[in-house]
Amino acid sequence: MHGLGLLLRQGLTYRGGLYQLSWVAHRIAGLGTLLFLTIHIVDTSLVFFAPELYNHAIQLYRNPFFGIGEVILVGCVLWHGLNGLRIAVSDWFPHLWSPQTQRPMLTAVVVAFLVLYIPVAAYMLVTIVARGFMGG
């Protein structure tokens, strides 16, 4: 998978600035969410196929290791959604694809992401610590 390594290297060296980084983050967040979704559909389906096994799977998710993964997942979905909204709206109204409009739009996405994610991540981390490292 030299492709992903190339993507990461380009993301850090290509002088596209915040626009390039937003694109790299969008892609990585999307792939991360897809990976989680694949696992999540299987585990939730256990409520029908093997309900006892579902309870066992949830027990595993109570481990702080998965808790950290969950915090990352929320960040991925939040960034992908907010940045994706900017892309969709700009594509529907293409006059928005001008540097003068994109700069404030991207700033708004970054600000909205930080305003939502910082308290949410903090709350989730507090829950992880409060539940203890044995997963409550």
Partner: protein, 135 residues
Amino acid sequence: MAASPRTARVVSPVRPRFDVSVWSYMRWSGVLLIPLAFGHLAIMHLINNVHVIDACFVYYRWAMVGWRVYDALLLWLAYIHGLLGLRYVIDDYVHQPGLRRGLKGLAVALGVALLTVGSVALVGGVRVTELPGGC
């Protein structure tokens, strides 16, 4: 001898109509997924969380048909959105036609399998009789 005229060579079959549909689907499903996915995360990962959720929680939640419809929308919109996103990634980084076709085939198989499994569970619901303690 005159140089032969340069002509553009079609490297791979182009499917503009399909690509436009995908382009459009990614935007519409994406915008719909913002309230659906953000709402799901808020309810199932913040207000409730893995320390509260178990099979009985899902049983009572799915007793309301509205939540099953919500989850079905989320399942289909999100997973197809994700796999079509994966298609973009495959097109960008895999240049061997055989490998590219293979990976896309795998993605389609994964989509069919997981959407089937997920839908069966949504319709079938929680099989409480399989739980020793019931709900």
